[in-house]
Amino acid sequence: MATHRSCALWSCCGRRWSRVMRCCRLPGFRSSWPRGPLGARHLSQEKQATETHFGFETVSDKEKGGKVYHVFESVAKKYDVMNDMMSLGIHRIWKDLLLWKMHPFPGTQLLDVAGGTGDIAFRFLNYVRAQHKRKQKKQLRAQQNVSWEEIAKKYHNEEDPLGGSRVVVCDINKEMLKIGKQKARAQGHKAGLAWVLGDAEELPFDDDKFDVYSIAFGIRNVTHIDQALQEAHRVLKPGGRFLCLEFSQVNNPLISRLYDLYSFQVIPVLGEVIAGDWKSYQYLVESIRQFPSQEEFKEMIEDAGFEKVTYESLTSGIVAIHSGFKL
């Protein structure tokens, strides 16, 4: 197509091609495209190297997606147990800190990508529900000379305990979503939750839809991180916030050695003993080492178009929360 060929000149440039493509596209084109690899993206992919890392192995781009899928398919059932065992429960604090940083208020639309088992989504719902209750109580207290009838009516007309907030959990892996749905049922989360099967590099959502985009411990498994960042930029509303919780580089040398020892010696053993799966947990610790450092990742986020990008290292840099805004 003529439009594609002229856009080929721009396809080398990492940053702006997506905007150019949007101009080149005919209206209504998006809905007619199949969910397979987009024709325009192929041109830019040809220019990039076709090999990438899978832990410390080298695999082709196409292989990595499938291999990561298998890893998470096999770990899904024991995912939460293993998280607790490996991090000694600290991962719960990290996720709580992410929510605290997000500080959502009733009405926030959250997209949680790679959020398979729903940890962030459930925390978000609890947070927003608590906020909403607090707001209501404050309102009631502020009103003076309110009759008992009016107070009872206020509590009865509980139309939306979430105050309009919604969370969409998107994950590429069916097994992880299945576990997440089971957990939601067990914990009693019904309203305000949607589960979508989708690829972080190609989100099945329209532009400018969400207030907050979060991705916790998921972005290092994505084959093309820059594409995922660009998709994040696309689906966020102007003024929206990008939040990423991910393993990062430890800054203290002593802790780094202890952390390496623990990661490579103990974690695969835990995986074998508890989940019966050595290789998946070996991949996990290796993929942590392959992920860029805090500064480099910050630059990648800036390249995707985000502004006011900051990061906060937790637990001496074992994890870091990166935050950026689409302005």
């Binding site: 940053r15 890392h53 410390f56 080298t58 103990v266 080492r289």
Partner: protein
């Protein structure tokens, strides 16, 4: 322009391997498969082996259904015993042949029809009967499972045997044996694999069913024969979950019998079972010096 170039080049950067494995990381090799002694090999450091041994011992006690944990325990603790076993096999002519040819026993390599056609009382027939009686073979279509057991198996489906999903405690069929992973020597990896596959043969030889009592007796026999720490631990800790009555029978009759025969018999890994299908079981027992096994109830306390 510089930033655009940088962003275009960024995806290439992680390939440089700028963050290579740390000093105490068991190296997997740059390319998948390099540096591995045999397919499925996972190189482990001594610390990892120790942690695995401890973890697998604990997990097998906690959850006896985790057969893979028993296997891992055997692999991580058995180095010295396996070397001894391998030397014994090398000294014996039949054993040396086994080490050379590396035969494998699995349901797919067993010719079930041929075994069924063998004369009554032969090793092959008895082995097949052992698999049948202990419900290690079952019809492919599980909803017809109870029907086919009571009415005899339909002719057409005798090829389609799968490990029975309803196997009670400790029952494992030839095909559910996980491949060796943590042994750092290729020949020893085969020896332990052979030992696992011969386990069912031992049940047939000793006439022991696959309930807990039978398994413990076989474990005692194996512990005396092979000296594998996993067998010794299994033999010592297996009876923990038994009732007092079974414990009494075990200690008074079964264990002394197993130990005596284990001491008397030559190394059972030296038998090329695949060539002995036609040999009558009683003759084989006489050859090995195994006396009449004491009766153990088939539906023993689980």
């Amino acid at each position: 322009m510089a930033t655009l170039l940088r962003s275009a080049l960024r995806p290439l950067r992680p390939l440089g391997g700028r963050r290579g494995p740390a000093a105490d990381v068991p190296l997997r090799g740059v390319r998948h498969g390099a540096g591995l002694l045999y397919p499925g090999h996972i190189p482990t450091s001594p610390l990892q082996k120790a942690l695995l041994a401890a973890g697998s011992a604990g997990m097998s006690l906690y959850n006896p259904y985790r057969h893979d944990m028993v296997a891992v325990l055997g692999e991580t603790t058995g180095h010295r015993a396996l070397k001894g076993l391998r030397d014994q096999m090398r000294k014996d002519p039949e054993g040396a042949e086994i080490l050379q040819e590396r035969p494998r026993i699995s349901l797919s390599t067993l010719d079930l029809d041929k075994l069924r056609s063998l004369p009554e009382g032969s090793l092959g027939q008895e082995y097949l009967r052992f698999l049948d009686v202990n419900e290690l073979l079952c019809h492919k279509f599980q909803q017809a499972w109870t029907l086919c057991v009571s009415q005899g198996r339909p002719r057409g489906c005798q090829r389609h045997y799968i490990p029975c999903p309803r196997t009670p405690l400790l029952r494992v069929s030839p095909d559910t044996r996980a491949p060796t992973r943590f042994v750092d020597d290729e020949e020893l990896a085969y020896v332990i694999q052979r030992y696992r596959e011969v386990h069912d043969m031992l049940h047939t030889l000793l006439g022991m069913p696959t309930n807990i009592l039978g398994e413990i007796v076989v474990k005692w026999f194996e512990a005396v024969q092979t000296g594998l720490p996993m067998c010794i631990l299994g033999a010592l800790f297996g009876p923990i979950r038994l009732s007092a009555q079974s414990l009494q029978v075990l200690v008074s009759e079964l264990i002394p019998w197993a130990v005596q025969n284990g001491r008397r018999a030559p190394c059972v890994l030296n038998l090329y079972y695949e060539r002995r299908w036609e040999q009558p079981l009683l003759a084989l027992r006489e050859e090995l010096g195994i006396t009449e096994p004491p009766t153990v109830h088939v539906r023993g306390p689980a």
